[in-house]
């Protein structure tokens, strides 16, 4: 059934309609809350608070955003208080990632990648990536997962996180580069000529 119809019904007090609206998003809301808090218990509290708040504010929902995005905005607000200040990762400066050829040392030389599926099982890839994303501070990982797992646009994410679009883009890129580096460690094809040296 279309979302607008369900919203009208829910706003009129139809509980089943509300459940149909919320159900498809629960897992993602929980995953997002876990990402922000780094802790399962806090994430559960946040998801519960979010759904109760959604009931309280149901009449205020206007179809300017999708219902899912609206729920995200509530989770992000609730999660803001809980955000863990993880230790900042040592990330390679962006300038060092390209222009590798001009470097004296060759640690950042880019190499071609093997087919990931020739190196690891799909389930291993999944685990590897989710661990790598977990290593990122939430300020980078949250925009990243909203972009590529939840498929929100940069504009939507910027609005949700109250960031400029430029800042959002740069955080998404930062996360992307960080994950690229992690994957590089297992996927790059070693250059045999350099080993001889």
């Amino acid at each position: 059934m279309d979302e607008r119809k369900l919203i009208t019904q829910a706003q009129a007090g139809d509980f089943t309609a509300f459940q149909s609206l919320v159900e498809p998003h629960q897992k993602r809301l929980f995953a997002l809350a876990k990402r922000m808090t780094g802790n399962e218990q806090d994430a559960q509290d946040i998801v519960q608070d979010t759904l109760l708040k959604a009931i309280d504010k149901l009449e205020t929902f206007r179809a300017e955003s999708s219902f899912g995005t609206w729920l995200y905005s509530i989770v992000l607000n609730a999660g803001r208080l809980h955000i863990v200040h993880q230790k900042r990762q040592n990330m390679t400066p962006i300038e060092d990632l390209l222009d590798g050829a001009t470097h004296q040392h060759d640690s950042h030389h880019l190499r071609e990648w093997r087919d990931p599926h020739s190196v690891m099982e799909a389930s291993e890839i999944r685990r590897f990536i989710s661990e790598a994303v977990d290593e990122l501070p939430a300020e980078y990982s949250v925009p990243f997962v909203l972009r590529y797992e939840d498929e929100l646009s940069i504009k939507e994410i910027a609005d949700l996180l109250k960031l400029s679009e430029a800042a959002t883009k740069s955080r998404v890129l930062r996360a992307r580069l960080f994950l690229r580096e992690k994957l590089d460690s297992i996927l790059k094809i070693e250059d045999s000529s350099e080993k001889v040296r």
């Binding site: 509300f18 629960q26 929980f30 519960q48 759904l51 990632l97 880019l110 690229r180």
Partner: protein, 83 residues
């Protein structure tokens, strides 16, 4: 002249289909000529592809799902008088 590092954000926007056509052409030209940027481009693209593939998340813990359902239902009844 633009350095390769200057292309990074654009490379990323290009991969996301968020770049205007004129810049797209410029990127395509540079990536066609520059091995480093070509490798960066391919690996960034693969990174996102793998992340998308891995994006499915786990189910809610059963005990929590049940508790959540009940809390939501109770709250609904407080507000609307019925569920």
């Amino acid at each position: 002249m633009k350095k390769c590092a200057d292309y990074l954000q654009e490379l990323s926007d290009y991969l996301d289909g968020q770049l205007d056509p004129q810049l797209c052409a410029e990127i395509e030209k540079h990536v066609g000529e520059c091995t480093n940027c070509k490798l960066m481009f391919d690996s960034l693209k693969m990174t996102v592809k793998l992340c998308r593939e891995s994006g499915q998340c786990e189910e809610l813990p059963a005990e929590f799902a049940q508790r959540l359902n009940q809390a939501v239902k109770d709250h609904w009844i407080r507000k609307f008088g019925k569920a």
